[in-house]
Amino acid sequence: MSELLQHIINMLVLGATYALLGIGLTLIFGIMRVVNFAHGELYTFGAYFVYLIAMVLGLNFFLAVLFAIVAGCLMGALIELVLLRKMHGADIDTTMLIMIGAMIIMQNGEQYIWGGIAKSVHSPFPQTPISLGPASISWLNLFVFVTALALIGAAYFLINKTKLGKAMRATFQDSDTASLMGVNIQRIYMATFALGSGLAAGAGALLGPVYVIAPQMGNIASLKAFAIVILGGLGSIGGATIGGFILAFAEEIGAGYISTDYRDAMGFLIIIVVLLFRPTGLFKRVERIG
């Protein structure tokens, strides 16, 4: 029983960061119709940025996390401007190839700059975990969980309560009509990509200190983000949030009760099973491709 409780606590921490990854990816797909293969690289970017600020420059850890999110947004805006702006209206395969190119460049760039040896970030939190009855949670994990929830909340607020969010939702529903109503589509695309990238960088900035940081960590993050987004239905923000927690749950349970070797396989099995039986995702009925 205490084991299960511990799994649930781990699931919540992991799930909140997975949800961040998933929301970013699903926004970009929903609004721009771009399958962002570089998503995991922005996650890696966020993690390395924290390392740069907190460990190399020796500045405050919390400042490093904040800077990483801002830097992720700027990086996303830059990618949109350089690589995607000219490709509006191109078919999905074309932009996908571009993003795969971007992924290769970013990943090998990280490898070139930081080398292949994994880096670790020391958090300013005390090492002794907080005891919750039979289970426990470390201070760092609690910080990760709370910050991730705050970021998810901020994303929801931005999308649902602000003017920019309204324009984004309008573009998502029908970009031509939104454009006729005076929405600057190019600006929306840039904002979307920046927001999605910032969320991915945030997930990386939070999980980087929990694990170690390596150039290849983005591959598995991208694939997990795809799993989450498919689980929730491509383009569904609520679906991606719940999808993040479901994936984390499946991984925790799979690792805890089946085999730790196949922990990372859970996401792919979920993708395959969901697409075979409910291709539109668990929570969405609006759209179906194919």
């Binding site: 190119g101 395959i272 194919g290």
Partner: protein, 343 residues
């Protein structure tokens, strides 16, 4: 012209070992040839049916493992009680098994994943490749996991009355790869010019129209997937017996990316595309390795890929064909016959 060109290319390719003696360059030709075969098989799906399979390396790796395991033998216990022992078989049966097993997986994956399209299809195929990689990594009893399958025997052919010939030298392996490449080329060429091929192209151009005129889309897609997987399996089997060591890294996503870059650069949906793209990307490492490290080389790959999509979205071969066609048209417009017709 269209018939002569491939034959000419074959003759030129066959003469390569006669004038290139540098073992490193010859080695590059062998591995490039293997990847060209894999890229040709990917082109069948990506170029002719329009389905971007980003899990193609799974078939390559399955072919490699199936062939290696058939010729090495294995001894596994399934579900804790069924004991399966396989004695080593001759190597050529391994190659056949590589194609067959890969083709069977192509059938299963095709049957299941062609229910979805576009982004969904891409992600299902990637997931499949990742699951296969994790199985190869973790089913240590069968695959040795990260320790790799070693001492894979070289390909040997026994000709009655002449004894056994081992494809051990680079030159002999070059001809073996060239032969498989030529056979694959002919198979793909026959397929795309057949009724099946026309159906595939029809559904790439307009799937709902193809369905409405009675083309059974899924079954044609599955045919393409099986052929494609089988050929990729052959390439993987050749790879395993050439390197003589195979580990789960053979399933890495970067290999799929390499194949995709080859196809897209050369020109998807053209027979010559994967050959041209494959040669370019097979030899970029040879040229660049004296100047830059592996990371920068990959960065060049990525930049090249983006550049191609921006500048030559259809690839090199269609661009060259278009250029020739344009020149021909200009010749025609300058001829008197054209002037007469115009007047």
């Amino acid at each position: 012209m269209r018939r002569i060109l491939p034959l000419l290319a074959l003759v030129v390719a066959a003469s390569i070992p006669l004038w290139i003696k540098d073992p490193y360059i010859l080695n590059t030709f062998v591995t490039t040839g293997i990847f060209i075969i894999a890229a040709m098989s990917l082109n069948l799906l990506l170029g002719y049916t329009g389905q971007l399979s980003l899990g193609h390396v799974a078939f390559f790796g399955i072919g490699a493992y199936a062939s290696a395991l058939t010729s090495l033998g294995f001894d596994v216990t399934l579900f804790g009680k069924f004991h399966v022992v396989h004695e080593p078989w001759p190597v050529w049966t391994g190659l056949v098994m590589g194609v067959v097993v890969s083709g069977i997986f192509g059938y299963i994956v095709g049957k299941l994943s062609f229910r979805v399209r576009d982004a969904y299809f891409v992600i299902v195929t990637i997931s499949f490749a990742e699951v296969v990689r994790l199985v190869a990594l973790n089913w240590v009893e069968l695959t040795q996991g990260p320790l790799a399958l070693t001492n894979i025997p070289p390909v040997a052919a026994t000709i009655p009355g002449y004894g056994t010939f081992e494809f051990y030298s680079k030159t002999s392996y070059f001809y073996l790869v060239l032969a498989v490449l030529a056979v694959s080329y002919v198979i793909i060429s026959r397929l795309v010019h057949s009724r099946t091929g026309r159906a595939m192209i029809a559904l790439k151009q307009n799937e709902s129209l193809a369905v409405s005129v009675g083309i059974d889309v899924t079954s044609y897609l599955v045919v393409a997937a099986v052929m494609s997987a089988g050929i990729a399996g052959a390439a993987g089997a050749l790879y395993a017996h050439y390197l003589r060591i195979i580990d789960p890294d053979v399933f890495l996503f970067v290999y799929t990316v390499t194949m995709v870059i080859m196809v897209v650069t050369g020109g998807k949906g053209t027979l010559a595309g994967p050959l041209v793209g494959g040669l370019i990307f097979g030899f970029i490492p040879v040229i660049s390795r004296s100047y830059v490290g592996p990371e920068l080389q990959w960065i060049i790959y990525g930049a090249f890929m983006i550049l191609i999509v921006f500048v030559l979205p259809e690839g090199i071969v269609p661009a060259v064909e278009k250029w020739f066609a344009k020149n021909k048209k200009q010749d025609v417009s300058a001829s008197p016959a054209h002037v007469q017709r115009a007047s």
